[in-house]
């Protein structure tokens, strides 16, 4: 009796230890990356980095102001394209789950999720860059926007499906038409969850490099025209990292640190939004 109890307690402790180690194994890479980025990138982070354009090749100094803004512009463009389509599409999938269109769209979204990001870049290249004969922010935004759609669509579908039927019926019984019930009652009820999905999707595309290589292309200068090439943090990091200059290497690390910070902030916002979701179960 006493012995069995001791054995059980011992087993319990071993299992708790294993669980702890697994958690540690998940967290370690994240902290290593952050620590490493901070130690290497922080030294190159200064006011100039956020306010200046890149310097001439090999010259120390200069910054990534245009790339930071460029990334924000690209994310915005992607959002403008991807969010409405994703949210409305996901809502459709949830409200009309068994139509042939839904099955097709769901399948397409899953396939799209698996398509390598560089192929998305190629697609935008063929669709927009070739007809316009030059690289542009728009084409980069389209490439990222298309990548955003499946993530937003599937998370929206999941969360909208959780909205209880009783909420829909309450609205319909008031004499609110179905479409209005969906747009003004169902979607708002799921809103915080949808926002979380959007944030996670945005964080994912913020760091994408491949789809921008032959779309947004990069730019060493400011660009106010979305029909012209635009700088982006991942592109700039890539260009600096493969350059032969030490100062640029340091700036590449700093750029990576800024990019990761942006992604982290977006993810934390997503958590906050998720916490505000009204309970659906």
């Amino acid at each position: 009796m006493q012995r069995r109890y001791l054995v059980r307690r011992w087993k319990n402790r071993v299992m708790a230890g294993v669980t702890f180690l697994c958690t540690l194994a998940v967290l370690t890479p994240l902290f290593l990356i952050l620590a490493f980025l901070a130690s290497t990138g922080l030294s190159a982070l200064n006011w100039d980095f956020f306010t200046k354009l890149p310097g001439a090749a090999g010259e120390p100094g200069g910054g990534m102001a245009n790339a930071i803004v460029g990334t924000l512009v690209l994310i915005t463009l992607a959002g403008v394209i991807g969010i409405p389509i994703g949210v409305l599409g996901g809502t459709f999938l949830s409200e009309y789950p068994n139509t042939r269109l839904s099955h097709t769209a769901r399948f397409a979204a899953d396939v799209m999720n698996g398509i390598p990001s560089i192929v998305m870049g190629l697609f935008a290249y063929v669709l927009i860059v070739l007809p316009m004969h030059h690289f542009s922010a728009l084409s980069g935004g389209v490439a990222l926007g298309i990548m955003l759609i499946p993530t937003v669509m599937r998370t929206t579908e999941e969360i909208v499906r959780l909205v209880p039927q009783s909420v829909r019926e309450a609205s319909l019984a008031l004499g609110i038409p179905i479409w209005k019930t969906t747009l003004r009652v169902v979607i708002p009820t799921a809103a915080a969850g949808i926002v979380t999905g959007i944030m996670v999707g945005l964080a994912r595309i913020a760091g994408e490099t491949a789809p921008l290589l032959f779309t947004a292309f990069g730019n060493r200068f400011w660009n106010r025209d979305i029909l012209q090439p635009i700088a982006a943090l991942p592109l700039q990091i890539f260009a600096y990292a493969i350059s032969p200059f030490d100062d640029w290497h340091r700036q590449a690390w700093a750029g990576a640190l800024v990019l990761v910070t942006i992604v982290l902030i977006v993810n934390i916002t997503a958590r906050y939004a998720a916490g505000r979701q009204v309970k659906l179960r």
Binding site: E169, A170, A173, G175, T189
Partner: protein, 262 residues
């Protein structure tokens, strides 16, 4: 234009179901219900679980057809108009026939105020003053105003179960329906809240027509003027509540109200 049940003939915005059948896919849930619900009275619908009470209610305000694979046949007259007429708009029908559900279902993201206002604002009412007025009126009519007037902008879900149900009644009243359908509105509530809902049903019947589904025979006896007994999708017996409970004409009604089955 159509035959009416003679005893209840003089009511104009009552409801007349005429040979109403309802299906869920293959399941024949209502088998030819003909029933006249008089204006400004409380009519109770009783019967064992699964006999089609909710389905009947949902046929009246055209909610039944929203269930995939569900079908209805027959006519339901609201006043003189058939709600299933080709030209009838189900959205307008539901505006005129309000509904309160078994489980209180306030909109979870909306405040108390916005819950009550929802039927108006979502239909495009812009006049703030008018909405404010109607919200207050409706909350008073639902006997909830005094309890919530100081916290109108708190979430509707912050109220107790009984208060939430009265909130749902206020929400339904705000679009000034002519008929209010109540599907076991008190079945999830404690005795005190139940009593309040019953009083409310009686009071509301001064102005509008009430149809209330209940499992509770005492409740039907307390609250209603007329009672219909449903069994297996059929209306077995229908008449003044007092008669139905004291001298039922059908054996099955008697069995049910004396608790021999159901």
């Amino acid at each position: 234009m159509q035959t009416r049940t003679p005893a209840l003939i003089d009511h104009t915005t009552g409801i007349q179901a005429q040979d109403v059948h309802a299906w869920f896919d293959r399941l024949h849930a209502l088998r030819g219900i003909s029933m006249t619900v008089p204006e400004r009275k409380v009519t109770a619908v009783i019967g064992p679980s699964g006999c089609g009470k909710s389905t009947f209610l949902r046929c009246i305000n055209r909610m039944h057809e929203l269930v995939p694979e569900a079908r209805v046949s027959g006519r339901v007259l609201l006043g003189q108009e058939n709600v299933y007429d080709e030209a009838a708009d189900p959205v307008l029908v539901r505006r005129r026939i309000g509904m309160v559900f078994q489980k209180a279902n306030p909109f979870p993201t909306m405040s108390i105020y916005n819950n009550v206002a929802a039927g108006l604002t979502l239909a495009g009412e812009r006049d703030r003053r008018k909405v404010e007025q109607i919200v207050e009126q409706s909350l008073r009519a639902a006997a909830l105003w005094d309890e919530v007037k100081d916290r109108l902008h708190k979430p509707g879900t912050s109220l107790s179960g009984g208060q939430q149900q009265r909130l749902c009644i206020a929400r339904a009243l705000a679009v000034s329906p002519e008929v209010l359908l109540m599907d076991e509105p008190a079945s999830a509530l404690d005795p005190a809240s139940t009593l309040r809902i019953e009083e409310l049903a009686r009071e509301l019947a001064n102005d509008i027509t009430i149809v209330i589904v209940t499992h509770n025979m005492q409740q039907a006896a307390r609250v209603s003027d007329f009672t219909g007994f449903f069994l297996d999708g059929e209306l077995i017996e229908y008449g003044p509540t007092n008669d139905l409970f004291t001298k039922p004409r059908d054996r099955r009604t008697e069995d049910y109200i004396t608790g021999r089955f159901g």
